[in-house]
């Protein structure tokens, strides 16, 4: 049903589609920027160097429902907005939550597909127990992270931006910062599952928790509408919850359950 709706929207907008949708149709290909920071949400299969994970599964299903080929481009927090704006990617599935600043320069599909917030990872014996304890301390994060502003303005921490989360976490292990702040979907599995990180703990509650949405260039209303229909279809059919289970993402997100309930009624 959702597929029919989506293809319907896709086909019906022949005369009025925006530039991105035109390009996707013309090239029979959609280029999706995905964040592969490791873990179940995005990583690389060593045997064939292909990306896999949550972000990639979503991208594949979008391409399938639009009836086009998929090309994935790995993005980093430091360059994802630029890549989208330059046109190198058509949409972003990069764990980017909605913020007012982003809303001003980009468009987004209103239905969220996950919820992300920032948490801090600290050594077990660290004196940091709450966010406020980070005042005046060094905090490692990725260049381009949207946690930099709240950390420096609200909590008075000194932020150090690294190229990616892996460098930031290595710097934390080298005692160059008191804490590393990244998405909870990245850090939670580390502390839960990885034996390397058993001497570390997470500071809750999540910083600026926000809905993860798919981003497109400013003004691309048709693209956004098409994607949004697809996402709503996911919630309705429960595909997202099934994918979450398939990829072993724990703990299962209550947000997905709530959205599934909401869209099933429609």
């Amino acid at each position: 049903m959702a597929t029919v709706l989506a293809t319907g929207v896709f086909m019906s907008g022949v005369a009025h589609a925006d530039a991105t949708l035109d390009k996707i149709r013309q090239r029979h290909k959609i280029v999706v920027g995905v964040l592969l920071s490791g873990g179940p949400f995005g990583s690389i299969d060593p045997s064939n160097q292909k990306p896999l994970g949550w972000n990639v599964e979503l991208a594949q299903d979008i391409a399938r429902q639009l009836g086009v080929e998929l090309e994935t481009v790995q993005v980093q927090p430091s360059n994802r907005v630029q890549l989208l704006q330059q046109g190198k990617v058509d949409i972003l599935i990069a764990g980017m939550e909605w913020t007012q600043e982003r809303n001003e320069i980009l468009s987004f599909a209103p239905t969220p597909f996950y919820q992300v917030g920032g948490v801090a990872i600290v050594p077990q014996d660290s004196s940091v127990r709450r966010w406020e304890d980070l005042r005046g301390k060094q905090v490692c994060l990725s260049q381009g992270s949207n946690y930099a502003k709240p950390l420096s303005t609200e909590y008075g921490a000194q932020v150090q931006g690294f190229k990616g989360s892996s460098e930031s976490l290595l710097a934390l292990r080298g005692n160059n910062c008191a804490a590393a702040v990244h998405d909870n979907i990245l850090l939670q599995p580390l502390v839960n599952d990885s034996p390397e990180w058993k001497n570390y703990r997470i500071i809750q509650p999540a910083l600026i928790p926000g809905n993860s949405v798919v981003w497109a260039r400013k003004g691309e209303q048709d693209t956004v509408a098409a994607i949004d229909k697809i996402i709503q279809g996911w919630h309705q059919s429960g595909w997202l919850i099934a994918t979450e289970k398939k990829l072993n993402i724990t703990p299962p997100s209550p947000v997905l359950v709530a959205l599934h309930g909401k869209f099933k009624k429609i």
């Binding site: 630029q82 050594p123 381009g144 931006g161 080298g174 005692n175 160059n176």
Partner: protein
Amino acid sequence: MMDAWLSKIVAACKGIGLNYDFLLAADERAAFLHGLLVTLQLSLACIVLSLLAGFLLATLLVSQRRWLAFGARVFVELTRNTPTLVQLYCAFLVLNMLITQALSSSVGNPLTPFIWVVLVISLHKGAFHAESLRAGIEAVPAVTLEAAASLGFSRRRQLWLVQLPLALRFALPSLINNLVDLVKMTSVASAIAVGDVTYQSIMIWTQRDNVLELMLLMLFFFGVLTYAVNLAGRWLEQNLRMPGYGR
């Protein structure tokens, strides 16, 4: 008054399509200026330490004890033939982490990223200096050394009083070239968040998307810095000139 002046310049630049708004935001401007300062500090620290390391390695390279010379040669070849960025990552991400794990939590790891950058760049460039100095040392005519030996100079005094001063003068152009390269190399510090001008620029352009404008500023700054090093080099060449040697 300064702000008014700055606003005029920013507005003028906007006229030709360059967005220098970040100069009007106090925190970003301060961050950029701090970045310039850090680059200067890095350059100075690395210049001094790399020259020291270069001298030390050069003396080891020409040492009569084969195992010392061999060890120095292995080190020089390893650092000269691997990229600085990879060395920096190995030092800062790997060695640093291992050191922290080895030390107990009460002692703590005193090595900051700044120190690591200075160490890695100084050793890397020190290897290049050592090669230049070694070439200089070997260019000292054998006659001079024999004369020194016949006057009763010990091997060590020969090295210190005869070979090294002459080698320094022979190697000076090459050393100055290396130092210019070193100043340029400090920009890799941005990869481990050291806060030099490249890092600050990255932090600013990821928020404001004004890459070209920051590039122009950085190119200008590095141009001035390398020109200063070249000038200092030429001054040294003039002052250290010995009649009969060189041009």
